[in-house]
Symmetry: C2
Subunit: 245 residues, 2 copies
Amino acid sequence: MTKVTAVSDSHLSGVAIWRRIADAVRLDIVGGKLARGDKLAGEVELAERFGANRHTVRRALQALAAEGVIRTEQGRGSFVDSAKRLSYRIGKRTRFSEGLAGQASELRRQVLGTRLENASASVAAALGLVSGAKVTRLDTVSLADGRPVSRATSWVGYRDFPEFAARFAEEQSTTAVFAGLGVSDYVRASTRISARHADAEETALLKLAPGAILLVSEGVDADVDGRPILYGLSRFPADLMELVV
Amino acid sequence: MTKVTAVSDSHLSGVAIWRRIADAVRLDIVGGKLARGDKLAGEVELAERFGANRHTVRRALQALAAEGVIRTEQGRGSFVDSAKRLSYRIGKRTRFSEGLAGQASELRRQVLGTRLENASASVAAALGLVSGAKVTRLDTVSLADGRPVSRATSWVGYRDFPEFAARFAEEQSTTAVFAGLGVSDYVRASTRISARHADAEETALLKLAPGAILLVSEGVDADVDGRPILYGLSRFPADLMELVV
DNA sequence: TCAACTTGTCTAATGAACTAGACAACTTAG
DNA sequence: CTAAGTTGTCTAGTTCATTAGACAAGTTGA
């Protein structure tokens, strides 16, 4: 509502003004207020709107151009150069790639690795195990049209599914692996959603600008009898993705 | 995984190192890794862990102390002084105050005001109206134990419910108003969840530190025949709240 | 061609953010 | 009491963020 002080208090916030302007402009784009090809307001007008200097606005636009969100042409202006946010569908039968069906022409999942580890308190609680129990951990990054769109970690109890890692190396599909291990079907039992800043590893793997915001989805999949079989922690860049329940 | 460069590149990010440290420590607290009363690592150890100077860590801790998240005592250390995140339940029959039942002793909703306006493109699309149609807009802030935990805006078509604003002024309950207008029941038809930085108005109303992250939930409620009757946009501070589907 | 409007580049000054080192003040365990 | 470990405070220097103003260079339409 109020336009003045829209982006002041830079000292108190610890977030640079140019970054807040970049975030605001990006939000108009991924939120749908500006479509691909649309012309942005001029640098002078943006500077007035945000109560900042033109140089500060320029730095914000440069950051957006580096991200590939806009394109700037001397003498003409800046133009939107990216599409809307992708929607990831979450439901009772959430499976990889179904959630993004139709929104990207090429979907790929990169497996970073599997390993055996001892369950942390939260993993143990989600899977109904004692803290420290052996679990198989699977780390992946998903890409839509070559762009990383999610970083996921899954945990499966080792006692119930000792062959999970070995089979996954061949099948490359959680659904197929569970099917081969006697779990014909499974459904999403619960989902918790939160948001936070990306850490250094996530920033690198998802190719984000440092300080980017992640949507975090924590879910437990259960078999037909309601027994938890898989605990998953997925992280989505909030600029690129939204979750649809 | 990698510990070095954990919080470097401050120039590229536009987010101050002290703020990123504060966010990381707060995440350990609201995420449950540290419980109320626990002692944080010493300033020197934290400085090593984040690859930053002790003064920078001190600034982060001062910000957290100002938020009321920790308490620092000379010669002793810093101690956790706040609880875990609240969970807001989202389901087919999401009603205010049910979502937070049992997690706070006092729940209150402050009505900022109602007004008549012309539907924006997104509001019109959600309610199945033509763009620019008259809609009643309701703005609220919800508080749990006196602390603001959500900022919500709702839109209701004026043509279908011309008396909405007048009745709401008396009833103060959406469910009761709809009941009085002949809608005995309604369910959540769809929910979209995203995340972004808070703007100036949200920062003020929710009493946040500038640059805070919001979880944004966008939902459409429909009557028993599936006709959309209400479009709602709720914003939750990501530090305080998580959404449970 | 010209005038108006756009982005690109340069210089300069101020304040915030970060680092470095040293020492004071306080708490705790021995 | 003492030593070790903790937070509090000071000085000083470097780099980044932001503002201000001026002018160059490209685009557009009259």
